[in-house]
Symmetry: C2
Subunit: 448 residues, 2 copies
């Protein structure tokens, strides 16, 4: 599937400029020094989870595959690079033929992760792999932040459906990716039409206060909506007086009214009152949708209230306080010399201060206890111990430049649900705490 064929408005013909200039600076210098072809292994990982979070959620993997596939420098872009003297002529020529021919392994989308988890591993020549740094990080850092918030919200919501409606609170294309990540994290539907178009996520829509205000009375507005969309529609009942609106809504739509939406006020109190009123009016199957500045805590606080669905906006698309992950893309191993067959050598930054890394090409496995519950994230270099062989986390995503791991979005969504269910129970506590699994490093006895 070539995303460039899929049309607008989410797809872009090329992803090659989603790149920090320093990647091209390094490329040019490496080409000139003769080190550009050294086989290199880059890994994506985080040094920590956002404060208090118990686990992270990998999201965006599918979008990374699209981005790698579309990472080509066309004539416009090459002209720009040349005219701006961003790189020299030799480098422009090299970029004109660019196509990633290396291998990518990674945690599959929807999987959970912990500090140090090798979430993605990109292997190829230095030149071809270094260029992908920014676009891979942009996608994974953004999408995983939203998915992590979505996962917590879906835990809080239990079996009640969650509607993603945050498009207006984030960049218009980030919104589309956010709807996708929210779906992976457990949301049910989105209000964002572009996300429906591009990713086939079910869309929903009700109406805004503007619609009520447009009409000469709330009753007129409800009549207009029911005539156009049938009694199964969702009527917004908090433009003026909620009690009055609910009465009017059932008068207009009948007892089969689909749902009412409450978008302001004390939701706990209002949900109880409106439920009682609906029941008294005989509209026992009319659902109650609430949508006012919700986050996972507000959702949890409504668990005992007669609420049928939650709509979440701002707090979802901004990662509920953590709008980005701190994933980095680091060179962990490279050929020991310019010889084409030179073995890999582990490398790592070793400065003072906090930003050091663990060198070496890594595998990861999730060790489980006798009940099948995860007890540690084990990360190592070299051989995988036999008892962990069946619990490895990295899967092959790209082989020799070819995408080998396309999957429907529902697969990632199902995987996330299963992965979360495999964690200790405390993973789903909303309160702040430590990562629910410790990360253990197993060093190789020799080699990398």
């Amino acid at each position: 599937m070539d995303t460039a064929d899929l049309g607008l408005p989410v797809d872009v013909p090329s992803t090659a400029l989603f790149t920090d200039r320093y990647e091209l600076t390094m490329l040019q210098a490496a080409l000139r020094a003769g080190t550009a072809d050294r086989r290199s292994v880059f890994e994506v990982f985080t040094r920590r989870l956002p404060e208090g979070r118990r686990y992270g959620v990998v999201a965006g993997t599918g979008r990374v595959l699209d981005a790698v596939e579309n990472f080509r420098f066309d004539r416009d872009v090459l002209d720009f690079l040349a005219q701006q003297r961003i790189v020299d002529e030799q480098t422009v020529d090299w970029l004109a033929d660019y196509r990633f021919h290396g291998d990518i392994w990674g945690y599959p989308e929807g999987e959970v992760y912990f500090p140090g988890s090798p979430i993605m591993r990109v292997e190829g020549t230095f030149a071809e792999a270094v260029l992908l740094e920014t676009v891979i990080l942009s996608i994974l850092n953004h999408d995983s932040a939203v998915a992590a918030a979505a996962s917590r919200m879906s835990t809080a919501a239990g079996d009640r459906p969650l509607i993603e409606m945050g498009a207006r609170r984030t960049h218009e294309l980030a919104a589309v990716a956010a709807a996708r990540a929210a779906y992976v994290g457990g949301f049910t539907t989105t209000s964002d039409l572009a996300a429906g178009f591009r990713y086939n996520i079910p869309t929903v829509g009700t109406s805004a206060h503007a619609f009520t205000l447009l009409h000469d009375s709330e009753r007129d507005a409800f009549i207009a909506q029911v005539q156009a969309h049938g009694s199964d529609t969702t009527l917004l009942v908090d433009t003026y007086d909620v009690v009055e609106a609910v009465r009017t809504a059932v008068e207009v739509a009948g007892k089969d009214l689909g749902a009412v939406r409450i978008d302001s006020g004390d939701l706990l109190l209002l949900a109880h009152r409106v439920r009682q009123q609906l029941d008294e009016l005989g509209a026992k199957n009319t659902r109650i949708v609430v949508t006012s500045d919700l986050d996972e805590y507000a959702i949890a606080s409504l668990a005992a209230a007669p609420v049928d669905a939650y709509g979440v906006g701002t707090q979802l698309v901004t990662g509920s306080g953590h709008p980005t992950c701190s994933m980095v893309y680091k060179l962990v191993a490279r050929a020991g010399s310019d010889d084409p067959g030179a073995p890999l050598l582990p490398v790592a930054k070793k400065s003072m201060g906090a930003k050091s890394s663990v060198g070496g090409r890594k595998w990861a496995a999730r060790r489980v206890d006798e009940h099948g519950v995860a007890e540690a994230e084990v990360v190592g270099t070299g051989e995988v111990p036999g008892e962990l062989a069946d619990h490895q986390l990295l899967v092959e995503l790209v082989r020799g430049g070819e995408i080998v791991a396309r999957e429907p979005l529902d697969a990632a969504r199902d995987r996330h649900k299963a992965a979360r269910a495999g964690l200790p129970l405390s993973a789903t506590q909303l309160s702040r705490g430590e990562p629910v699994l410790p990360t253990e490093y197993l060093r190789a006895r020799g080699g990398s």
Copy 2:
């Protein structure tokens, strides 16, 4: 200028699906009820600034104009809406001809704003104006959040240049808009090549730790970079030992070395040490660039340190704790009846709870004291008082569907600098406080 002609990768052929489904739900119902053509006035405003912030910064206006111009429903999109039964056939037909023919006024880009400021006013039929809600809010909420953070950082940085380098921490296209908003807010350059390509923002790039690790020694890496880019390049000196690296850097590049970059550790301490070392080595003009998890407070804390430029990533693109603004798009006035010539009637949500609005089509002006310093944001309906006539804030952006206010990005950047300079001095305090101007409402004596 049609953005669709400008090429990739930021432009999209249509913005019509950056829309919440409920806008189409309302459209269909209004078309059926005969109320779709009622003249309507929507306004964008916020009820509050992010906690502790002194002022907001309008950014994204230019992008809104692009989005409005490209808001068309092409065949693919119409088929999607029909197949998914998102709207009925009559509505699909109406959308096929959609083009905004109304008027838009707003605060010009770069201007500051306060709670209640009518940042943008969209006027047209209900049908044509209601559809623009989501895309306008997405753009303004995202871009203004980044610009507000950028503005605070540029105050803290004083005359020292600021480099935007947050692409890896946000969605890949949000990154391009963020670089643009940062430039409006006072940043000097960006690392994001797509932002350079699309918006002509100057790009810069140095190198990463990976480049040093790729080579057999730090010296080899520095030689490679200097040979490729000349001695005016910026060498990254914190991969191993900073003192050693600075010595090697000057040995390799000579006293004309452009700059060194420090990306970890105690920046205050390191900047002083490295400056002293560079001076002792005779590299008195070699600049020091620092780039480690900076925000406006960290930048301010380095004011007395010998730092020549700051690179800012995460905290910039996530709005330094406030990744979105709380701008809303509300119907504030509409024709009193279906008569084409019916006068406008102010309308407002009047429910219990906090989310009420002020009805009526508004003007805004910034009243200044005898020294020319702003003292109040005055918002009103009806006639503008004579003494405020010359201090009005809204400018015409779109007239009868035609964009009339294109401007170069530097105009917005200059405007922001001037607008901020016109505020009371306490505006630029970084500490938390109240909005630096009060918002005063002047109600019209009659009409709206």
